[in-house]
């Protein structure tokens, strides 16, 4: 049986940062459902935040200002001590990345360039044109080659094995062989990313099913603040490929069908650079009011920025527009609409990235460590992945070195793998039933229509009913293609189980939270309600059913005040 000291699940930024920071004397491996460079992190465009103060307009920036912006942006649901921790570590994290070879763009004088981003008081977002994710992911992958990190690629984790409150390993589906295998590990770190594909319109990669979050939930780990789903204001109309906030950071305008920069009605001082929740709602409101084009999209106009700057600072955006919309933003405005983008919630972990289950850690988008609260600021997620990815690796190492190895876990692990195998055989044996892609289509529609940007009780209740019907249907799912090697169908069936749970947890949290905060906007409760709702939602799976509870928010320095931009 494959046996590791630390098993990192996920090869995106958080996963590679974790693997690189594990104690080199321990036996460490990374498992990922795709080759690491194919992870969704590679698509990140706009940049990564740190208060370097390099911009002429940003000399007074400091990590405290960064923390304040993060907390205010979160609509005060961020844990302030943890947001401070992240912002404090941001500066050295950027310099470390730079040292490792990340080719950041530069200002005259040779320092790392920084651009303005939404909800930030100063130009604070470090970038490499508009391919920041690509260059950071490639750099960390290169470092993994240097450090000879062990990878198991195209392995899908399907189950987290926990016994008596302690993590013992995972069960994986090996796509190349079609086998189901247990992997023993003394510590497991999940860095499995977001669940964007639970929605029809999303900027996320096709592979972002969020199964890691669902697997942890099934294993009894609580999920936190899952109702907070970020909708990005600007995705390419139709395809929903992201058009980075950096496009507005570089000066882009949002314009309705009357030719008006309508944000003056919603966020008169920050305008296009208000936080995402506000801009996304403003856009959707304009479209709903009939001020959109074809009632479906509005324009992101970059023309006044000029060809030279577009080509230099936003070459990837230009390429996307040319490839996927057959327009050149140099001379045509980009049709855009909001789309699901990011998960503020996730696996509930503390500042050490440790969960309730001993030996089980999580970092990156799949985790909720508490820095983003009800709304994440652009550029803070890449930061989250590198800062907390690193912490998770360090902490898991400390844990492994200080803990006793569980003996005789092999038999239990094998049994758990057999259970997964039996489930698959069942799907394989059936010659009729329901196909998983149909269920997925239905789920996406429900989530987009009922649990989207604007929410209300009736829609949410309906969604919960629909989700439980889909859970029933899922019991009759079957494998149509009877070959287990490289079966994307099997991947989808396995992951759909998680997607159903996630949909349920998101919707339940949204239904219960009778207030508006950050990305969670209730048409029937339009105000933020600090008295009753300044608290985290926790959902735990008890005998297959979600159980909801709440926990306090760490509020140290910054008193909640009204968010105005």
């Amino acid at each position: 049986m494959i046996s590791q000291d630390i098993l990192v699940v996920g090869g995106g930024l958080a996963g590679l940062a974790a693997a690189l920071s594990c104690d080199p004397n321990l036996k460490v491996a990374v498992v990922s459902k795709v080759h690491p460079l194919r992870s969704h992190s590679v698509a990140a465009q706009g940049g990564i935040n740190a208060a370097l103060g390099n911009s002429p307009d940003g000399r007074d920036d400091s990590w405290e200002r960064h923390a304040f912006d993060t907390i205010k942006g979160s609509d005060y649901l961020a844990d302030q001590d943890i947001a401070e921790l992240m912002c404090q570590k941001a500066v050295s994290a950027i310099y470390e990345l730079e040292y490792l070879g990340v080719p950041f763009s530069r200002f005259p004088g040779g320092v790392i360039a920084q651009r303005p981003f939404g909800g930030a008081g100063f130009p604070r977002t470090c970038y490499a044109a508009d391919r920041t994710g690509l260059v950071i992911l490639h750099t960390l992958f290169e470092q993994s080659i240097r450090k000879q990190v062990k990878f198991f690629n195209e392995w899908l984790v399907t189950k987290l094995i926990v016994k008596d409150g302690k993590c013992l390993g995972v069960v994986v589906y090996d796509l190349a062989t079609g086998q189901i295998v247990p992997v023993r590990a003394r510590a497991v770190i999940f860095t499995t990313g977001g669940y964007g594909r639970v929605y029809s319109r999303t900027t996320n990669a096709y592979i972002n099913h969020g199964s890691g979050i669902g697997i942890a939930y099934k294993a009894g780990v609580p999920l936190r603040d899952m109702e907070f789903v970020q909708f990005h204001p600007t995705s390419l109309f139709g395809k929903n490929i992201l058009i980075t906030e950096g496009a507005r950071g570089e000066g882009g305008y949002l314009v309705n069908n009357k030719g008006k920069r309508f944000l003056e009605d919603y966020a008169p001082s920050a305008m296009e650079l208000a936080p995402r929740d506000i801009v996304a709602r403003s856009i959707q409101t304009e479209i709903d009011k009939g001020n959109g084009f074809d009632n479906q999209y509005i324009h992101l106009d970059l023309r006044h920025i000029g060809e030279e700057k577009i080509k230099k600072r936003l070459p990837g955006i230009r390429e996307i527009c040319i490839n996927f919309a057959a327009i050149d933003p140099v001379d045509t405005p980009i049709p855009i609409q909001p789309a699901q983008h990011y998960s503020m919630g996730g696996i509930d972990v503390n500042a050490k990235c440790a969960s309730l289950v001993e030996g089980f850690f999580a970092a990156g988008e799949c985790a909720c460590v508490g820095v983003h609260g009800a709304n994440r600021l652009g550029g803070n997620s890449l930061l989250d992945t590198v800062v907390f990815g690193k912490i998770s690796g360090e902490e898991a190492s400390i844990y492994v070195k200080g803990s006793e190895e569980t003996n005789n876990s092999e038999k239990f692990l094998l049994e758990e793998a057999l259970e997964v195998k039996a489930r698959i055989e069942e799907w394989e044996k059936r010659s009729s039933g329901v196909r998983v892609h149909r269920l997925l289509e239905e789920l996406k529609v429900v989530m987009s229509e009922n649990v989207g940007i604007f929410r209300k009780k009736k829609d949410l209740t309906e969604a919960l009913e629909k989700i439980s019907e889909l859970k029933e249907d899922y019991k009759r799912v079957y494998l149509y293609g009877k070959c287990l090697r490289y079966s994307q169908e099997l991947v989808n069936i396995l992951e759909f189980d998680s997607m159903l749970d996630l949909a349920e947890v998101i919707t339940l949290g949204a239904l219960k939270r009778e207030e508006t905060r950050g990305s969670h906007y209730r048409l029937d409760f339009k105000e933020r309600n600090d008295e009753n709702w300044l608290k985290h939602t926790l959902v735990t799976c008890k005998e297959g059913k979600p159980q909801i509870s709440y926990s306090g928010v760490n509020i140290s320095k910054y008193k909640p005040e009204e968010r105005k931009y």
Binding site: R38, Y99, G101, R106, G110, H138, E142, Y486
Partner: protein, 241 residues
């Protein structure tokens, strides 16, 4: 519009020979080739295997040969192919795992061989390196690479000489050599001063033609050659004196 897809199929564990399977596919909307393949898989044949992830030509997963051309399935629009028959084959020069899924291991191995990471030289500076943008711009062409493998797979030298590292790995090496922060000793280039390295290339530039990200990886190979030659002349000159 109705299309006839002829898709390469091969499961080395089951099939004696590869074969092409026909699928008819109808659509009224604009669709990418990747979307079409996913629909065919969902609706017609879910044993059909291919790779994908980002659907925006940035992750490098979905390279294949489409009506004879190397490209990413996700950025290929069906309508633009200008033909109702679409022949799809896996990347050549790599072993088939199943259908359109090839074994990329030799490609990754080649990458590892060139030490694809920065040699930072001195200790980490508190404020990072200071480098003007125009210096960094020299490597921008190369950092666009998404490691899709098209250049490797099209290369005639890769197909006949298993030692040859291929364009992507060599261009990556040049990306570091050209990086003002990299302090790689010149001697470390001896590994590519060989037929398996820069001298293997026949400079017909098939790689530059097929690259979906306009990396022009062979520019990097040629630049490395120049560097090696210039350096050699310098040395001879030095010894001669």
């Amino acid at each position: 519009m109705e299309y006839l897809f002829k898709i390469f199929r091969y499961d080395p564990l089951k099939d004696e020979h590869p074969y092409f399977e026909d699928y008819s596919f109808e659509t009224k909307e604009k669709k990418s080739l990747l979307e079409a393949l996913m629909e065919i898989r969902n609706e017609q044949d879910s044993t059909l295997a291919f790779r994908y992830s980002c659907r925006e030509a940035i992750c490098g997963s979905c390279a294949m040969v489409i009506n004879g051309n190397f490209d990413m399935a996700c950025r290929t629009e069906l309508q633009k192919l200008g033909s109702s028959q679409i022949v799809i084959e896996p990347l050549p020069n790599l072993e088939i795992q199943k259908d359109l899924v090839v074994d990329m291991e030799p490609f990754w191995q080649a990458l590892s061989q060139i030490k694809p990471y920065i040699f930072p030289g001195e200790k980490m500076q508190e404020q990072g390196h200071r480098i003007e943008e125009k210096e960094m711009e020299k490597i921008f062409q190369y950092i666009n690479c998404i490691m899709c493998g098209c250049c490797y797979s099209v290369c005639p030298v890769v197909s006949r000489d298993e030692r040859y590292l291929g364009a992507a790995a060599l261009a990556k090496l040049y990306r570091f050599v050209k990086d003002p922060r990299d302090k790689r000793p010149f001697s470390s280039l001896s590994g590519v001063n060989t037929e398996g390295g820069v001298w293997g290339c026949d400079t017909v530039f098939r790689c530059n033609e097929v690259c979906p990200k306009e990396v022009r990886p062979a520019d990097g190979i040629e630049a490395l050659r120049r560097k090696l030659v210039v350096e050699k002349i310098k040395r001879i000159f030095r010894f001669g004196r």
